[in-house]
Symmetry: C2
Subunit: 326 residues, 2 copies
């Protein structure tokens, strides 16, 4: 099996690649892997994935990658939300036109192969396709109405993947990931950064700023769950999708207060004291427009499994990122 | 006011252009008009619209049209559903890439104008963005999941128009029209053709074939309502859209039996006898997947008005297409 990871230098791309190297994918214990990204993906683990660098907004990149005829493509690459909002053309070029180019190049390979080549394409979509007003929990039939360029671009690619799949050119699935938490590493400029920061920094003995009211509710999955979702999507029999190639995934719905209480249970009161509430209306205004809870019935029926609760998400961070054996 | 009608040779484009010539648009009694289509639009009425021919899938067409800086653009042009399904690339190029090119060209004009140019773009979307299973009536928050390339293309353009509007480059609105009935002229190859045929042919003394069970329910608007929707969209204050730039429009929900009963009331039993039920499973299978009924609350609140009932739709055909004074 040949596996292509677009966005192979990113946090999830790297974790996915290392997991596949260690545990295989589907029934292949050691698939060939290509990691592609706009910067050269680093690699320190076992195995020898091919490391490629290029801009997926350029059509020749799409043509070159498709010519490798990967059996499975994890499409994780994207300009992030704030960047897509600030740079309108770049966002649409990378996040939508790049995906379209790739699908066209894959369709060409499908044709050249006498219609036998039909790769699995697993695309990471986002909660950003939604906007309020929301019901208490968003069900599988709730409409999308993105209020960011990033969300609109993800929505467009969902539609493309669905139609290219319906016609049999690829075999695709778009999965709308919950907000990934606890992200390892440093805080970044994303409005969501604090959701990881208020757990990660205190656990590492540092202060973290909480810019929103602790009553705010949101929808989370650990990086380990994200890797699990991506791998499970490859094993899933797509006939079970019944023509619906977009899935809201399961996650953990909790308030900031719930997050903090889980941290207290695991790490104690002194750690929790490192969280300093300093209201930031800019961040609060963005984050308060995000989904709070889902009923992802279809994904659960199909066998996708999330973290049990937020304590589980914290423990997953501690085990993966803080243990000596990592 | 300068008005551009893309799809100006089509049935709705022609009716819209003639209505604007006669009655004006918004507060302009005699706007300048450009009719553009892939074939040269015919013109027999009063007024002197500019008649242009070209392929909107070509970027130079988009650039040329945007350079005219129309104040209002009615985007009706599309490859029809069956054509988009049979010709995958042409469908995506015309129905989606063409619209994207135009939006990019309009954004360029917006930039060149010092951000003062911001045309109203009224895009005719379609019920084809939906697929079942349906609730009894589709509300404004029901998800889209197109099961045709045509529907996917319409969905993509909705997303583009919404995002270009949110950023202030254009001021757009996508309206999802009900199935237009009674279409004047001859039957065509569209699966929906019989919906008009079973009214139009008998009224003109000809037989019509009914290929589906008369219990089938669907969602209709007259061509006159469609023109009304398009004109009303131009008058509407878009601040009232509250960031949602896609609307399910009002229509008439009725079964084929209701259609036939309305015809009987208006034209008598002998006319109805010209309808011959001959089941066609190919057509039935397509049509049975279509939406049956809507609760288009937002559009109604915003002031969009549809035909009162199906009798009204038939009468509208008789008055417009069959009267001596037409």
């Amino acid at each position: 099996m040949k596996v292509l990871i677009l966005g192979g230098a990113g946090m999830i791309g790297q974790k996915l690649a290392h997991d596949i190297t260690k545990n295989g994918l589907g029934d292949d214990p050691q698939p060939d892997m290509i990691l592609h990204d706009i910067v050269e993906p680093s690699w320190t683990g076992a195995g020898r994935p091919e490391l490629l660098t290029g801009n997926i907004a350029a059509n020749e990149t799409a043509v070159t990658l498709a010519a490798q005829k990967p059996d499975v493509i994890f499409f994780l690459a994207a300009i992030v939300s704030s960047d897509a909002e600030a740079n309108f053309k770049a966002g649409w070029d990378v996040n939508a036109r790049g995906a379209w180019n790739l699908l066209e190049a894959l369709r060409e390979q499908h044709k050249l192969s006498g219609k036998t080549y039909r790769p699995k394409v697993i695309f990471t979509s986002s909660l950003a396709v939604f906007s309020g007003p929301y019901p208490d929990a968003i069900d599988d039939n709730f409409h999308n109405n993105p209020q960011s360029s990033y969300g609109a671009q993800k929505s467009v690619v969902e539609l493309l993947i669905s139609d290219y799949s319906r016609k049999g050119y690829v075999d695709g699935l778009s999965i709308r990931l919950p907000t990934i938490c606890v992200r390892p590493g440093k805080p970044n400029l994303a409005a969501s950064s604090f959701y990881s920061g208020i757990i990660r920094e205190p656990l590492n003995g540092q202060q973290a700023i909480l810019p929103v009211p602790d009553t705010l509710r949101h929808w989370f999955a650990s990086p380990q769950s994200a890797v699990g979702f991506l791998k499970y999507a490859v094993e899933l029999d797509f006939n079970r999708l019944e023509g619906r190639r977009t899935l809201n995934l399961p996650g953990v719905s909790c308030t900031v207060a719930d997050q903090i209480e889980a941290l207290r249970q695991i790490a104690g009161n002194d750690v929790v004291k490192l969280i300093k509430p300093i209201h930031n209306p800019d961040i609060a205004n963005i984050v308060m427009g995000w989904p709070r809870n889902f009923h992802p019935e279809r994904a659960i029926k199909l066998g996708f499994r999330s973290d049990k609760d937020f304590a589980n998400i914290i423990q997953s961070y501690i085990d993966t990122e803080m243990s000596d054996s990592r």
